[in-house]
Symmetry: D2
Subunit: 357 residues, 4 copies
């Protein structure tokens, strides 16, 4: 269950404080040129430790390719990736090795597996997401061949929402904010949370441009369902919206419907998909992240022996996981669209006839 | 891609105006007593045609079991189900056989498959969901053996939200409303929409009680991701929230964390799952449905020949798909939990030792 | 686990003495013309009851299409199929409802599922294979579009082997024999077995012509492994050979290697595949069927209560399952090749560029 | 497609002359004690370079665990494994970088993927099987908990068959022969092949003891089909037999049926499975390996430019791949049985009730 995708399949392994995080990308078509600088750059976008708005754990996150690329091109066989952990501090966790951290996975992992890897959350740590970003970078190289691009940014922090969405603003924003005018207020909320030994929630917006009509497999691998699975599968995500999202449950059909003209749709409340299939319009997704559960205030909890006690956490954590989470969500959308692109190749006999003579 | 689930696998087939809707339930453990009255009753809860708040298409929806049950018990082999269509009126669709209905799947299906089954939306119609409810009823019979129950109701219509949640109120409510005091206002919004030849969005709340700790398979078949996939895969769903959902992206960790005591959690912002695994608390999910795209107002559209034109719809449609959609969402959660229950059986060596000797 | 295939997925349901046998074909590309006469004819080739060399159970085996075909063409959505049982005689089985038939699945199903559907073997009956042949016929319609053809015939009965292989001979042979000169001797063995209330084993040869280079997905969905899975998965099959098969384990590399020239291979010991991928040569597979376990001689067995007893069978059975089994094996190869054809569409970027502009 | 298994899933990556071979084992239950000496010893059994009957490539084959084991126990999360290549000699392959080696996968990989990794066969090399043996060792640790053991040995070389099967003889036999009296003759055939710059085929026998009744999932993941898939998926395997195998196609039902008494079956022609499910008897499988396609005699071939030419191979190769192949086949059976053991945990409600109170 550590694999996802149908034709482009990603399998990840590794723990936060183990030797590293690995990934196998299976099903990547052959003869795609691999730009290692691009891949490393993508992984660096997710990296923490660089400013006050993210964790102080500083990982070099060097992407090592173990297989599947020959002379700079994919060969069609599985691509093995490994990224070493070299800044783990397990000592931070020794005083809580028998305690459950509130709103963390410690409690459920322990009861499911009857064993506890207390070091930094083990497998449940967001550290694993580095593999998602690395493999997402490969997916982007595939999508680039078809002029499909994906962008992300921070839409809101602690309820402070961007108004004028500008993906260019994220490039130089320490918090990847989508609106220069709102960015500072958003930063202040994060700072305040950090000062209070607290954390804060946020929302990322992910958009995909140039997606051809036809991606998505009804009825149980709809584009919507793949997005729902992968976005709600991210650490700390508690809600996902497509297009008009939550707002559409409050409005009338006459307002929400996207009428159609020669050039496409007159509005995009659908968020780029209809009936589970991309409709050629921009794909828009909002991903809601809860505040980081690791806070440095005293909390009530119990031990593995079921004794009530008080928890005081150490460690290095993002005050707002939405910031770096936006890059991970962007990567997941790349992986989903790449998978759907491959699957759709056999949707109709016309496509197949182009390939087989 | 018309199959979902890992150990309990559901495969559906059939179109809105074809001979009927079918389903194969694979992986159901043997020796579960099958109560046909219960199953028919579940399907009847979803049935339309009974009041002014739903479609006027009146299907008898008789569930026929084709295989997999012997002498009233499951045998461990696939359960085949078929539900005949007998109230389809394809003539309603003949005048629009070359036109795309705004915010419907017509447009994307046509471009993906290069063919059009114009009759009532074909495969993309919500008619298919009768198979989900029927198979969900089987899943509930399995869950019942372990005292797991699932309930659903309407949380809001057109933004009018329930305050005092009471699942008992749904039993006699024509719109499955969760709050007696709000129900009437919610009904009025639907009536108004219908009178205006319009439709309205709504939100369903789905809760599961008695779920044991440990269900959900990290990292890519988390309980959260399965819920995200299946809920966003439902027709018309544009957003999904787990637990505190959207609200959690606006708040602080110190407010959102669920502290722990001897008896469990002191709050349930997590919505019953942590790290993708059930934590023993009540599972709470909100599912946001857009307004029905079929409205009876004039809309701009194009033809399959890409000519701009005006659309005037006929047919029989729910003014608010959230109402009957809540039953479908409830069924999907039953199927997910049943699947997770089966998978979890092999999570640790302790479980396996109980079985093999 | 009643589904197979990756892109073309077949899910079957139904028992020997239930209401019928059904099948869902998922992933069939749209816009393939469906020739119902061809499909029915394929199913008729498998049908028993027509001569002395097969079972006397006479099923009409009418293929009913429940979904997925519109105006004579596939629509890209799942194709539902149902074939009614109307000649089951469950009374034949009442005297053995508590006894295990030697070398049948009764024993293992009972212990696995703790329940017994004694009527005609239930799900484990070869009656299910009618769904395989019907769906195989759909696969053939797809393969026909690319001039891929599949043939089968009886290669040996009770060790009496064909010498001059001629697929045309099977057309008018009651036992689908591949060699006119050997056919009569093969028939005599079957007759003798029947007269002795016994049964006899046999071997089917399956060949595929016109298969393009490149079908098969290394390393765990090789063409060879898919063939191994589906052929050894057929009732009564105890061995499978590809190309030179068993003989290749007795010989030298210098004899077994297929040298290559401009026009292809100088020999075909490989049986049309190398490294799990089709090499453009004819695919040759031999499938070894054991003798029918249902014989009409007295046999030692035990009851479900573990009491030793004597078994005397009634019922109608093929004296040699290889004969009709050859048609089923042929159908399975069609399904495998169709699946591989679809998967291979995304193998390299060149293929994808043909599709997406 | 580099993954297999349903509940215990193995994903491998890596090439013969890349940095190494890796594997992810997903679904291993938690709390299994990991004996690294045992695992390394299993991998060593497969290792070449130790005597005249195997390749002279000497790899140290040290198994490195990257994740999934904590304090000596499995944690329920994916186990990452990596085994470095450190004795690859790519220079041996430079003179043939544009030539196809007869009966090798070069030809089909090149045409499928339009790219060539000429170094040692790349992904198609049997070098990958080290990952199968390493992961098979983990599977054995799981099976050991339930007293299931698997053994293998060489049954025949070049047609010279063992008579008195003795698995103990394989321990000190350089060719893992099953019969002390035949071993020397089998060695002579291999020596002769090597002297003639040739290679020779062989047959491995794999047996499993102590397998409980009930493993195997009908109808499309039968124990037989999983065995067929994984055995025919091994490099060089051209035929697989279960139980009486090929012989059963030549005989009568009265001879082939396994009658039943109080203590089990009176014979074991079925090879330990009925209807796709284990029957409690010993599982017996014969795996037929073709002679190594790499021979050092002059062969006709063509170049990637389709020019006819003559090939003279260099490199280090096993004269008989069946010898080391037997260990790989044994490992595959371990993986299959472990997977089936996990799946079967949810077969019936009785099993589930043992787990969930």
């Amino acid at each position: 269950m550590n694999t996802f995708g149908e034709r482009l399949r990603i399998t990840t392994f590794g723990e936060s404080h183990g030797s590293g995080i690995g990934c196998v990308i299976d099903g990547m078509p052959s003869n795609i040129k691999i730009d290692m600088d691009f891949i490393q750059n993508e992984v660096d976008r997710r990296r923490g430790g660089l400013n006050l708005y993210s964790t102080q754990r500083k990982e070099s996150d060097i992407v090592e390719i173990l297989s599947g690329v020959f002379d700079g091109y994919t060969t069609g066989i599985p691509i093995g990736i490994f990224i070493k952990n070299n800044n783990a501090k397990s000592s931070d966790y020794e005083n809580i090795k028998d305690l459950f951290r509130p709103s963390h996975a410690d409690f459920t992992y322990f009861h499911k597996y009857n064993i506890r890897d207390y070091r930094g959350g083990g497998r449940s740590s967001a550290r694993e997401s580095v593999a998602r970003v690395a493999s997402g970078a490969f997916a982007k190289l595939l999508l680039n061949e078809f002029n499909i691009t994906i962008k992300s940014g921070i839409y809101s922090i602690g309820g402070i929402e961007c108004k004028d969405i500008d993906f260019n603003n994220t490039i130089n924003s320490e918090i990847y904010s989508l609106d220069k005018n709102v960015e500072n207020a958003q930063k202040q909320v994060i700072k305040k949370a950090r000062q209070n030994h607290d954390s804060i929630g946020g929302v990322a917006l992910i958009s995909a441009f140039g997606v051809p009509i036809g991606l998505g497999e009804p009825l149980y691998y709809k584009l919507d369902s793949a997005i729902g699975a992968q976005m709600l599968g991210l650490n700390g995500v508690k809600a996902v919206e497509i297009g008009n999202g939550v707002e559409s449950s409050k409005t009338f059909g006459s307002k929400n419907n996207d009428e159609i003209c020669n050039n496409g749709f007159l509005s995009n409340n659908s968020g780029g998909m209809l009936g589970g299939i991309s409709n050629g319009d921009i794909i828009n997704i909002k991903v809601h992240f809860k505040p980081t559960p690791s806070i440095f205030q005293t909390q009530k909890t119990i031990s593995t022996q079921n004794k009530e006690t008080i928890l005081n956490l150490k460690g290095r954590h993002d005050p707002c996981i939405a910031v770096r989470g936006s890059i991970v969500a962007e990567s997941m959308l790349a992986l989903i669209l790449a998978d759907m692109l491959l699957i759709n190749a056999s949707a109709n006999i016309k496509n197949l006839k182009k390939i087989y003579k």
